[in-house]
């Protein structure tokens, strides 16, 4: 399966040039761009690990692409995403978030059902890869 979180997961994977274009769009809007990685793609895993702080005063997308490739050298088998933060009043949150690196194999998610009273079912979603400890989930 393919984890389709993020703004562009239904498009073919981006080249570095395409990533550069999108990052520059964010920078030109005044947003701070950040790189985050994880080996837990659960849809409600909010806090991926940060590859450094958001690059607040960086005017050039090339610096982000450079850092992305540094991150890939260490976490190339992980999910990596680009996130853009907008500090404007009334927003103060994320404006764009897209996956730029993913494991070569994505085993997907296990759906567990617990039948409770009446016909009610409680659902739980777990990434199959989470059976292994953090750091050893993807090759």
């Amino acid at each position: 399966m393919r984890v389709t979180q993020g703004t562009f997961s239904f498009l073919p994977d981006f080249t570095d040039q395409q990533i550069h274009e999108q990052v520059q769009y964010c920078i030109d809007n005044g947003w701070a761009v950040s790189i985050e990685y994880t080996d837990d793609p659960h849809p409600r895993n909010t806090y991926w690990e940060m590859w450094g702080h958001p690059m607040f005063d960086n005017p050039d997308a090339a610096a982000v692409v450079y850092e992305l490739n540094e991150c890939r050298k260490v976490y190339g088998s992980y999910y990596i995403r680009i996130i853009a933060f907008d500090s404007s009043p009334g927003w103060e949150s994320i404006r764009l978030s897209f996956i730029v690196n993913r494991p070569s194999e994505e085993p997907g998610f296990k759906l567990s059902r617990t039948e409770v009273k009446g016909r009610n079912i409680q659902y739980s979603i777990t990434p199959y890869s989470n059976d292994k400890p953090q750091g050893s989930r993807y090759k």
């Binding site: 849809p43 009334g90 994320i94 404006r95 897209f98 079912i121």
Partner: protein, 485 residues
């Protein structure tokens, strides 16, 4: 102003009998509205021979303190304060028998935090008033002091996006069709296919409540099976608007509680449940971390005709105060009424921190929303993937695009229809961000994306000629002014 319109002294004013409204103090051309006044703008069509200023004063009177005759009991009150004041009457551009009347209302006329009370005053009595042929509430200015007495949207656009983990693009939805007759089990199939294929949301239609063919619990259970299956299949947060509209508040709370128990991220209500019920559900939604979707069922009966009723921009303002998170606000290019400029006005009211006067989009007042959450507008009705460039151009990024027929009617099936919409959307946002002239190049961008997406190719082929190009019945009346350069 004719001499006869001058204010009378107290003795003459309160002598028993019938007096023109404008002489009773409801017409004050020199009045400067206070920052704390509620201001209403009415489009007035007086009966033949009725003076437009008297008509405006009558509307001010009948929507505040007046009755048809002089009453001495006025003098037991600070009646000058409580009288609404018509202070400006302009002929309507292009419509000789219609007038724009501006009326200011003292803040103390209204109960804090009650749309029911606000509307009982402003639209409670005057719309059937005989001296008027027709009356339309065009816009309102709500003072910050009053805005602050309302909860506002339970969740708001920003937190909704954080909760859904979805940024940078419009959300995608679809209404399950056919709207009536599916069993719970069959209904859930549509939800599953559409969400798995790439939509963020599916939606109950306005009249899906609890009927013989599908009772509400059955629908909720099958829908949540579908939502969770789709979430596991994609790794995304998914939702389906579970319509909790019912005959009583008790029943609605019961259904909402069950939706919460099942883990739904969103519930839905219809406008026809009434303003108080909407405010109650908004409060419940805030207390329970639930996104609240409003379907504007019934609004066309009073919003569509230009001379009589209530403009939808006013309904949008009331609903932002009342506290809904989603509201259907038009598509511009789809099958339902919607002039592009007027629709932009509605969207601005839902999404901006502050609205500025913009006569070309029908916004007559500056409006400060005082940090009330923003409402996510929903575009639904006769739209399809081939219009993606126009939809993003007209409606922007913070909107739910709902393709019902445009998903479920896809020749390769529902999931393929959903995928076509998602790919078209992501390709268009990508092109926009990359600096392309996406509106002009829209069809090319879609054709390029379709090269690697067969479902999109089929969608573009089958719906390429579908447009709904009819004259709008509700466009703003304004005089274009030359810009100062």
């Amino acid at each position: 102003m004719p001499d006869g319109d001058k204010k009378l002294d107290a003795k003459a004013r309160y002598s028993a009998g019938v007096l023109e409204y404008k002489k009773m103090g409801y017409w004050e051309p020199d009045y400067l509205p206070k920052d704390t006044d509620v201001i209403a703008l009415f489009r007035i069509t007086p009966q033949d021979g009725v003076d437009p200023i008297e008509a405006a004063a009558a509307v001010a009177g009948e929507s505040s303190t007046a009755t048809w005759t002089v009453v001495w009991t006025d003098r037991l009150t600070a009646c000058e304060k409580y009288r609404a004041k018509a202070y400006r009457v302009d002929p309507t551009p292009n419509n000789p028998n219609e007038y724009f009347a501006y009326i200011a209302y003292e803040l103390d006329l209204f109960e804090p935090g009650s749309i029911a009370n606000l509307t009982a005053s402003i639209i409670g009595n005057v719309f059937g008033f005989k001296p008027l042929k027709a009356l339309r509430l065009e816009d309102m200015r709500l003072p910050v002091a009053y805005v602050k007495t309302f909860q506002g949207p339970a969740t708001g656009i920003v937190v909704e996006r954080e909760r859904l983990n979805c940024y940078g693009r419009p959300l995608l939805g679809a209404t399950v069709k056919p709207k009536l007759g599916l069993s719970g089990r069959n209904y859930g199939r549509v939800v599953y296919e559409a969400l798995k294929g790439g939509l963020d949301f599916t939606k109950d239609d306005e009249n899906i409540n609890s009927q013989p063919f599908m009772h509400w619990r059955d629908r909720f259970l099958y829908c949540m099976e579908a939502v969770n299956r789709a979430s596991a299949a994609t790794g995304e947060v998914k939702g389906t608007y579970l319509n909790v509209t019912a005959g009583t508040m008790e029943e609605m709370y019961k259904r909402a509680e069950f939706a919460k128990e099942l883990g739904s991220v969103i519930i839905m209500i219809d406008l026809v449940i009434g303003y108080t019920a909407i405010q109650s559900m908004a409060k419940w939604a805030r207390d329970n971390d639930m996104i609240l979707h409003l379907h504007r069922a019934g609004h066309g009966t009073y919003t569509r005709q230009k001379t009589h009723g209530v403009s939808f921009r006013v309904i949008a303002k009331w609903m932002r105060l009342a506290g809904v998170d989603h509201i259907h606000a038009g598509t511009v290019v789809g099958k339902l009424e919607g002039d592009p400029a007027t629709t932009k006005g509605y969207y601005d009211i839902c999404r901006e921190e502050q609205n500025s006067v913009s006569l070309e989009t029908g916004v007559f007042f500056d409006q400060d929303w005082a940090s009330l959450n923003k409402v996510m507008p929903v575009a639904s009705g006769g739209i399809h993937a081939g219009q993606m460039h126009q939809l993003i151009h007209y409606l922007g990024e913070d909107v739910v695009l709902q393709f019902g027929g445009g998903t479920i009617g896809h020749p390769q099936g529902i999931a393929a229809g959903a995928t076509a919409n998602r790919v078209a959307l992501e390709a268009m946002v990508y092109a926009r961000n990359a600096g392309r002239d996406y509106l002009a190049e829209g069809p090319t961008i879609l054709a390029e994306a379709a090269k690697t997406c067969t479902p999109l190719r089929e969608a573009l082929d089958i719906w390429k000629d579908v447009t709904f190009d009819y004259a709008s019945t509700d466009a703003p009346d304004f005089v274009p002014t030359t810009s100062v350069s």
